[in-house]
């Protein structure tokens, strides 16, 4: 029954490899984390999470990830649009540069951003007279997360923009719609599913980001200490339960957010119909 007739053989082998690979790399570590949580029980779990320091670290991580991903949603869409729709010198170079955050070790990105935005860095010096400090503040964390999240939005939206039939836009224009209305009623609905996917990927990536953020965040408890750093600190204290509790909380919140985004996708698809 499961066997879907396909001209290519190998369902059994393929499924076996899939399950084995997924278990080893994804499911078993997650199960170990969940097991740790079940072993300590809900009361102890809540006890580990209830401290102001843990709550503020979790709030900071998710707040910064949301801000950075929302920024990437707008900026990434604009970037993808320009890269797909227009031809200009240097386009391929910029297109290739978008992938850099994927390839660059995040620590390198963190150190580079810190060097630029520190009080004695080029941008840091320029911003200082305006009273803006970027490095070692929450703004620095946003910046690092924008960096790591950007390619997710651009790369998910780009192929969809490429697929849009320009005749639809032209038809909309000839029927008298303004540019804004065409964008809002014709272009954006087609892009929404990919934008949401890109947003979700960028969000998921930046919530857990550690390598680049610890260099540019001040790491002050209650102010600029992100949840992943607090996990490391708990481990340094040999407090494995405390570390697992924060890990589980992050997993739970991330999972709910991804669920919400997927539900929005389904709702959106029903509303607009098949596009």
């Amino acid at each position: 029954m499961l066997r879907i007739s396909s001209p290519l053989p190998g369902f059994g082998l393929g499924m076996g490899l899939l399950l084995a690979g997924l278990s080893l790399v994804v499911l078993l570590p997650l199960a170990a984390l969940l097991g740790e949580g079940i072993a300590m029980g809900p009361a102890a779990l809540a006890g580990h999470l209830a401290s102001p320091r843990v709550l503020s670290a979790l709030a900071l991580s998710f707040r910064a990830a949301l801000v950075a991903s929302a920024f990437n949603l707008v900026f990434g869409l604009a970037l993808a649009w320009v890269l797909t729709r227009y031809r200009f010198p240097g386009r391929r170079l910029i297109d290739a540069a978008v992938d850099l955050p994927f390839a660059l070790p995040t620590a390198v990105a963190g150190i580079a951003l810190t060097a630029l935005y520190a009080p004695n860095g080029i941008f840091g010096q320029a911003l200082a007279p305006l009273g803006i400090t970027v490095a070692y503040t929450e703004i620095g964390i946003w910046l690092a997360l924008v960096f790591v999240g950007l390619p997710f939005v651009v790369r998910t939206v780009q192929p969809v923009i490429d697929e849009i039939d320009r005749e639809c836009e032209e038809a909309s224009a000839t029927l008298g719609a303004s540019r804004a209305r065409t964008l809002r009623r014709v272009v954006l609905p087609v892009l929404t599913p990919s934008l949401l996917t890109g947003f979700a990927l960028a969000l998921a990536r930046s919530v857990g980001e550690f390598g680049s953020v610890i260099f540019i965040a001040g790491n002050l408890p209650g102010k600029t200490e992100i949840a992943p750093l607090l996990i490391v600190i708990r481990l340094e204290e040999y407090d494995y339960a405390g570390a697992a509790a924060i890990g589980l909380a992050m997993l739970g919140i991330s999972f709910s957010m991804l669920l919400l985004i997927n539900a929005t996708q389904v709702w959106n698809r029903r509303r607009i119909g098949h596009v």
């Binding site: 102001p52 009080p119 070692y136 610890i214 209650g222 490391v232 340094e236 040999y238």
Partner: protein
């Protein structure tokens, strides 16, 4: 042809096993290996010492020894050993990290610190201030660190061994200055951390923030790290300020009994640690800006570098077994400072 031959997985596996089997014993016979798991600022010292020891060991008529080094934050290194990193020798920033290994795994006896002279600390250091050239904020002692507009850089005591010594040195001074008033010591340290704009995770990170990023007016640093910063970045960029009171920082060493595989290896590991106390190794430690015990082979320059100052010791805090949970444990004094 070879490829077709390797396509048979059973044959390929047999070849790999045979090759592995053939190679392993040859290595074991030819040389003894030693893994020294250490903390951050000892890179330069152990690079030199490993060379010194390997030469000395061969000159004694032994088979050659290969020494591998690993460096990182002291706490993280201790955790790696607990989680199974097969170090035969640990050389960490403070005794409580080696205590943690002894308590949480059975690779080390709990009385390890009594096995070598000077609490198993072949070299010591202390905590000093690194300030910008000319000392523009006029920093002379701990009291000046909480002055108006002064920014202090220190790593996070939760993740950094050096930062724990920083914290205790500050506490030690405040306690002396107030004739043993614990509340005033707590007030002072709380004030001090209000002047800290960045908490790096390790000593090297804090040095970078201060020296390369230009953040802060004072860096609380290992004395050896401060001298190294002067040597690396030129002494026209920074000055060292020695406070009236600091702490005797003892980075201890230990043999990890449970990770010893053979008698040969035990002999090398034991000699490796004992040789740290030899006059030539002590001279090497002095040249790498550590305060070592035996000055007989050191140059005058290396001896005269170190100023005299009043030093409290970890024993004044009841030893690490008491100080660690009280100051740096979950809900300890450091946590309370940030909870207020």
């Amino acid at each position: 042809m070879t490829i077709a031959f390797l396509r048979n997985p059973a044959t390929a596996l047999a070849i790999v096993l045979a090759a592995g089997g053939a190679v392993t014993p040859t290595f074991a016979l030819a040389e003894t290996r030693l893994l020294n798991v250490s903390y951050d600022p000892t890179r330069e010292f152990y690079r030199a010492y490993n060379e010194l020891f390997a030469q000395w060991w061969e000159a004694q008529g032994h088979d050659p020894v290969t020494i591998e080094q690993s460096h990182g934050g002291s706490g993280a290194q201790a955790r790696a050993v607990i989680d199974g990193l097969e170090a035969q020798v640990v050389t960490l920033a403070l005794a409580s990290d080696i205590d943690a290994i002894a308590q949480r795994s059975d690779v080390l006896p709990t009385d390890w610190q009594a096995t070598l002279p000077h609490n198993s600390a072949p070299y010591t250091s202390t905590i000093v201030f690194l300030v910008r050239e000319g000392n523009p904020k006029g920093i002379k002692d701990w009291q000046d660190l909480i002055g108006e507009g002064v920014q202090v850089i220190t790593p996070n005591p939760k993740t950094s061994g050096g930062a724990r010594w920083n914290f205790l040195a500050a506490w030690g001074w405040a306690l002396k200055a107030s004739q043993g008033d614990e509340d005033r010591a707590r007030d002072y340290v709380t004030q001090l951390f209000k002047h800290v704009p960045v908490l790096d995770t390790g000593a090297r990170g804090a040095t970078t923030t201060f020296a390369k990023r230009g953040v802060g007016d004072v860096l609380l640093a290992w004395e050896n790290e401060a001298f190294l910063a002067l040597a690396e970045m030129g002494d026209d960029a920074f000055d060292i300020v020695v406070p009236s009171v600091s702490i005797l920082a003892e980075p201890p060493v230990a043999l990890v009994e449970g990770n010893i595989e053979s008698d040969d290896q035990r002999e090398v590991a034991q000699a490796y640690l004992e040789h740290l106390y030899s006059p030539e190794a002590q001279a090497l430690a002095l040249a790498h800006y550590y305060r070592a015990w035996d000055k007989s082979r050191a140059t005058d320059e290396d001896i005269e570098r170190f100023p005299d100052l009043e030093l409290v010791t970890i024993a004044d805090f009841g030893g690490w077994a008491e100080a660690q949970p009280r100051f740096f444990g979950d809900g300890g004094i450091f946590d309370q400072i940030y909870a207020d």
